[in-house]
Amino acid sequence: MANSKKYWKGLEQLNNDPKFLASSRNEFPEELPVDQFLGDKETLENSSTSRRDFLKYLGFGVAAASLAACESPVTKAIPYINKPEEITPGKANYYASTYYDGNDFAPILVKTREGRPIHVIGNKESKLTKGAINSRIAGSVLSLYDNNRLKNPLKNGKATDWKTVDAEITKALAEGKNIKILSSTLLSYSTKLALSKSAGEKVYDIQGNFKGVKIDTNFVEYDEISYSGMLDANKTTFNKRAIPTYNFEKAKTIVSVGADFMGNWLDTPMYLNDYAQTRKPDNDWMSKHFQFEANMSLSGTNADVRIPAKPSEYGVIVANIYKQLGGSVDAPAANANLESKIAAAVKALKDTKGSSIVICGSNNKNIQLIVNGINQLLDNYGKTINIVNHSNTKAGDDAKVNALVEEMSKGEVDVLFIYGVDPARSIGDKFVSALSKVKTSVSFATKENETSKLCTYVCPDNHALESWNEYNPVEGCFTLQQPTISPLFNTRQAQESFLKWSEEYKTVSYYQFIKEVWEDFIFPENGVLSLNFNEHWNKALHDGEICFEKPQAEALESTTAFVNATGISSIKIDGASFAGDFELELTQNASVGAGAGADNPWLQETPDPITKVTWDNYVTMHPSEMKERGYNTQLGEESPANLISITVNGKTIDSIPVVAQPGQAKGTIGIALGYGKVVGNMTEPTGKNAYPLVENKDGVVSYYVGAIIADVAGTYPIAATQTHQTVMGRDSVVRETTLATYKQGDKDAYNPEHKLATHENGKTVKKNIKEFDLWKAHPVENIGHRWGMSIDMNACIGCSTCITSCNSENNVPVVGKDEVRRGREMHWMRIDRYYSTDADIEDKSISGYRKMEDPADNPQVVHQPMMCQHCNHAGCETVCPVAATTHSNEGLNMMAYNRCIGTRYCANNCAYKVRRFNWFNYLAYDKFTEINPAQDDLGRMVLNPDVVVRARGVMEKCSMCVQRIQEGKLNAKKAGTKVQDGAIQTACSASCPTNAITFGDLNDTTSKINSEMNHNRAYRVIEEVGQQPNVYYLTKVRNLENNEA
């Protein structure tokens, strides 16, 4: 058929109408009125559609203008011109690195997003720490974005450029005869070499030999928290001025005398995970931990037996233990109470010879010698204590520091480099006046500090997250630190500066330098692996840590070398109390430490694990002694602390608040060091610098001093996140038992199920609470995922790392002291701390309850992490009028911030009080400008882009890191597998140094969480209320006999 047209538009087309054919050649079959609106004035005026067009244009114009006005212009986002290969927007990169600030050491993993480091966790692959960090390390990422960091080199306090500084310092080095370096303990061979190369080998002679480093007297290492006495003792005992490594994993008995090894003693992150392994009551054995101490420390709160003792008694305790173990020492008699506890400790030690650890926090050489003697008698060396693969993290020598200060004050030092320490603050006036006699002083502070203010030059160092380095924390182990971002400011890594000032390495970058050092010195050690250097280097950089086992022969040799008694029998221990009203033990807070966290708003707002006080240091005193003196022991929003002044050796802190600390040894007080720095843009320093109270005893620094106190008029508001001290006998909140009871195996004795009486067939029967249900169950049991969490209260030590980590992950705003005092901290997770009481908890009368409010004199302590319990029958969900909080089909209690209108009904009806309300616009309101880092452009860079920043007036709470769950599910989907158990970690579970927090899928019968949920120790907090939480707690078990205190 010629006619191929099957379809036609009309009869005209079918019939090939000529008119149609003519018009079909045109694009538009009808004439368009183009001339009418594009024509000349006349046609325009005559146009019939001009008014309509005008209205169209007007309408379009208004719509376009208003649309354009709706969206504020984005000016700060600049797209990549060339996208870096490794960066995919929306995907996080993790880099293995190392944290070391002279005080804390830990291999870490840095999470970066779009090139910005935003989160720090421990490196779980690390053999040294097994992934443990502390809250200071978790919070360190914020200090990178501190707007008050030095942004340029300074000369006499004025900004200058690197060229000037380099020229002048090089000149000073050439002219100077006596060049000294005062630095924190340097773990890094490259750093030491760089320092030496810089000053034309003047600083010290390395002889190109990495093993036999001969440290010249010009080089002074200084630990702000001194372990000099212990190092000296070890020098005497082992002929090695080093700190041993402790293997707590094998320690069946731990006796600590004033050493807070879980909070702030030596290499804490290396101990925590090992310690937690020994606290599992289901294992064959559980460690028994005795803690003699004055202040209530984290270790004390976790000890099975905690014995309050004065610092002056530490020596007596140690000597008596030594004597009772068969050693010969002149030990003064301990008082009766101590005597019985010492005997108990000694008995436990004797029973576990070769698998115990005795440590002491004293910086007194003699006491440490006796401790070494004890461990030797107990046969612990080579078993639980390793002096061969010793730790290098502390090497400071107080005698050398004193000598340097002496030399400086005589005007004999020409050039002084100060790296990693702030001696003007920690040594004080003595150093300040000596520094004024030094011709040229150079500080490498990242942020202005008390020393840098006095220095001729400040050559600001990079932040650790902007720097390369290599560390040798423990003999045989090396770790690498790699930058995760380019320097934000015009700063230069100190080592780089040193190289710049050297003759030989002027043009070498520190990265190249490290690589060379690594190749020359560290790579040859690597006898086992058959990799070439580049492969080795890449593996080391990827893993962040590389460890070589030391030959066993050397280890044995070292332990036998110690057999000769080191004159312990001639030591005289002076058990006399210190002069003054109280014995003061200077300590450190878990989140501020020696000062690293003192200017970090996250860490200031992380409450002290024991007192729960934020944003201040204070004197801790026993409540009964406070009552005798008429001080307020019960802090609150409108119940401020009393002030006192403290005088030690003529040095006075004018006024400092007193806070009650149950369990504080009577006759003693404690103050945390490290405070007194200015946080953020605040004008006043936070807390008081207590370093001036430190005493120099026999050439070493002592943190145990006699103090005179006096009342000061006025009161001082204290911001504590928890003001009630005891659990009021509520055993469905906290469950604890003794190992003896637990081992008997009767679950009802330690973790009874809740029973409810009900009527059935006219009879009263008791039925399990789980059988009563007002609501229909959510269809999540055994369908899909059901996320849940379990928290082992035996493993949780209360360190608060999870709090800081959660803040970092979830963009939790910092609200400052005044708001915390008002009970408005925004923390999504908290750690509840309860003291035991001496009152009868069965006496539920008015007076009984009143007595229960008072903690015991020396209470047992429970740490209970608390966050949203993701109840299956959540109180919050039913009461929200706009359904802003709902249940997900994976068992999560969700919060739709956008929908929330802020009635706070959900928070009122939350039995766990975990919901947090945005009382203000923390991002803009001027009350928070000084303290909330998210108010400045730089500080905002730390925000996690996966988590929305909440607006004013909405409720927020723990989401169980739903963004991570989503990511984990997507990864599994891409990989085509099920979500593997352990693949998803919440911020808290990932950061927990003791793995106390387990997150997982309750529906996955093979998961760890599933087995913990069905564990005999598992219970849910206030389960009888019937909200069916998805968070399980494992009953705390103390290693005690039933009649033992």
Binding site: G636, E637, E638, Q722, T723, H724, T726, V727, M728, R730, V733, R822, G823, R824, E825, R830, R833, Y834, K844, I846, Y849, R850, Q864, M866, G875, T878, V879, C880, P881, V882, A883, R899, C900, I901, G902, T903, R904, Y905, N908, N909, A911, Y912, K913, R915, R916, F917, N918, W919, F920, N921, Y925, A951, R952, G953, V954, M955, V1021, I1022, V1025, Q1027
Partner: protein, 469 residues
């Protein structure tokens, strides 16, 4: 020998009362010049009210953090004030609707001012749930409005949503009821008005009321129907408000006794507030003949009865908290009367439970000064009742780690005082421009017997009605 039955004491006192006098007395404030005392009171009330408005604007501008609330105590003065004002708003409808159904004619002298009080109190009450929201600009989300936000709908499980319905229904029915009652009175004012502007205004307000018999018949019918509608609302509103607490899991809130207990408390506080207002109004506006000691005494009797119910409820709560054997419940109540807020609890007990029983003495319940004093005491007590329920329950609930105290800020206090000011502004405007008594209804209870004339001597009669010569 014939015996006359004892005659009830008349509801309107005085021999000289005539229909004209009633109109004149009631309308004196409307038709007369603005008095100085009114101006002074209005100025004070306006200043206080504006202070409150300023505080509210500050609150909305800065955030809920300007109140003293914290992570543990999420509601305090806001919801206390809300429940307090709603409670006060109970008396009006109770008087006008329930007493109408029971044919209690004495209500006629007080129902208008009581209803006005109800409406203004509910205005004040409604303010608090709005301003207590973190994001008041999203307040319309609590209404079940069809929307394009996606599948977003209100949560019908939430008692807060029930509140929205309960309060708005109550307010609209009360408003209509009140206004219908006002129509004949507005018409009278219209008819008497001399200058054009008021005449126009009142003729608009009176909806063209003609006053014919059919109109009156319909008026009565509508009143009865509305009374029938309003009566269940009297009980539902506060029952539902109480469910905000009763349906929660918080010990001290989670109490099934709440609905009747709250209703009784509301009537209790409502009558006290009527007393406070009426004692002033009758004095200042010279309405002693209409609002008599008898009325005051009746209302005091209601206060004794409801006060006793409230007292029983308090004691029942205490008993049940012990009898339940629930640790948290019993502690909540032990804490109430012996904890840090014991002073609030005992203030409440004294004001609400002990003091009303003084009204058993006739001398006291007919003493106006004492009644006024007591009405203030009861209002204070009822404010504390709500504070005690809300704050002392939630400040120490399940986990002792979160226990805290609540301290009000000046914004908390300022807004509460401001609502007193705003309420007074509304009330003063009502007194000045609206007929304060339902005088057309009052006329229906005016006794027009010849008793007076029967006992009158001729002389006196002639004096009273001089015959024109």
């Amino acid at each position: 020998m014939h015996k006359e039955a004892a005659i009830r004491e008349p509801l309107i006192l005085g021999d000289d009362v005539t229909y004209t006098k009633i109109s004149n007395d009631v309308l004196a404030t409307i038709e007369g010049k603005t008095t100085k005392s009114w101006k002074v009171l209005m100025t004070i009330a306006t200043i206080v009210g504006l202070w409150g408005v300023g505080n509210i604007l500050y609150l909305i501008g800065v955030g809920i953090g300007t109140w003293g609330l914290n992570k543990t105590v999420g509601w305090a003065w806001d919801i206390t004030n809300f429940v307090w004002w709603v409670g006060i708003g109970h008396a009006g409808t109770l008087i006008s609707a329930v007493l109408l159904l029971f044919r209690q004619k004495w209500r006629m002298a007080i129902n208008r001012p009581a209803e006005a009080m109800t409406i203004f109190a509910v205005f004040m009450a409604g303010l608090f749930p709005l301003i207590h929201m973190g994001r008041i600009w999203m307040a319309y989300w609590i209404l079940p409005l069809p929307n394009t936000f996606g599948p977003m709908w209100v949560n019908f499980n939430s008692p807060l949503l029930w509140d929205v319905f309960a309060i708005s229904t109550y307010l609209s029915v009360s408003l209509v009821f009140w206004y219908i009652g006002l129509i004949p009175d507005f018409a009278t004012i219209r008819d008497r008005a001399k200058s054009p502007v008021p005449k126009l205004m009142y003729s608009l307000l009176s909806f063209g009321w003609s006053g014919n018999a059919k109109a009156w018949q319909r008026f009565e019918e509508v009143s009865l129907v509305l009374a029938g509608l309003a009566t269940p609302l009297v009980f539902s509103v506060h029952s539902i408000v109480s469910m905000d607490f009763a349906t929660s899991v918080i010990p001290g809130w989670h109490t099934t006794i709440f609905p009747p207990y709250f209703v009784a408390g509301a009537v209790f506080s409502g009558f006290a507030m009527v007393q406070t207002l009426m004692l002033i109004v009758r004095k200042v506006m010279h309405l002693e003949q209409y609002v008599t000691v008898k009325h005051i005494e009746y209302m005091n009797i209601v206060i004794i009865v409801t006060g006793s119910i409230v007292g029983v409820a308090y004691l029942t709560e205490l008993f049940i908290s012990w009898y339940s054997g629930v640790e948290y419940e019993s502690y909540a109540f032990i804490n109430r009367f012996s904890g840090p807020y014991a002073w609030a609890y005992w203030s409440m007990m004294t004001c609400n439970v002990i003091s009303p029983h003084l009204f058993w003495f006739k001398k006291l319940r007919t003493n106006l000064a004492f009644t006024f004093f007591m009405s203030i005491i009861v209002n204070i007590g009822m404010w504390f009742e709500r504070f005690v329920i809300i704050v002392t329950s939630v400040h120490r609930d399940y986990l002792p780690s979160s226990w805290s105290m609540f301290y009000p800020t000046w914004v908390d206090i300022g807004i509460f005082i401001g609502t007193l000011g705003l309420f007074s502004v509304f009330y003063l405007l009502f007194l000045r421009y609206f007929p304060v008594l339902a005088f057309n209804e009052v006329k229906s209870i005016l006794k027009s017997s010849g008793e007076k004339y029967k006992n009158m001597s001729d002389e006196d009669f002639k004096k009273l009605h001089p015959v024109k010569k």
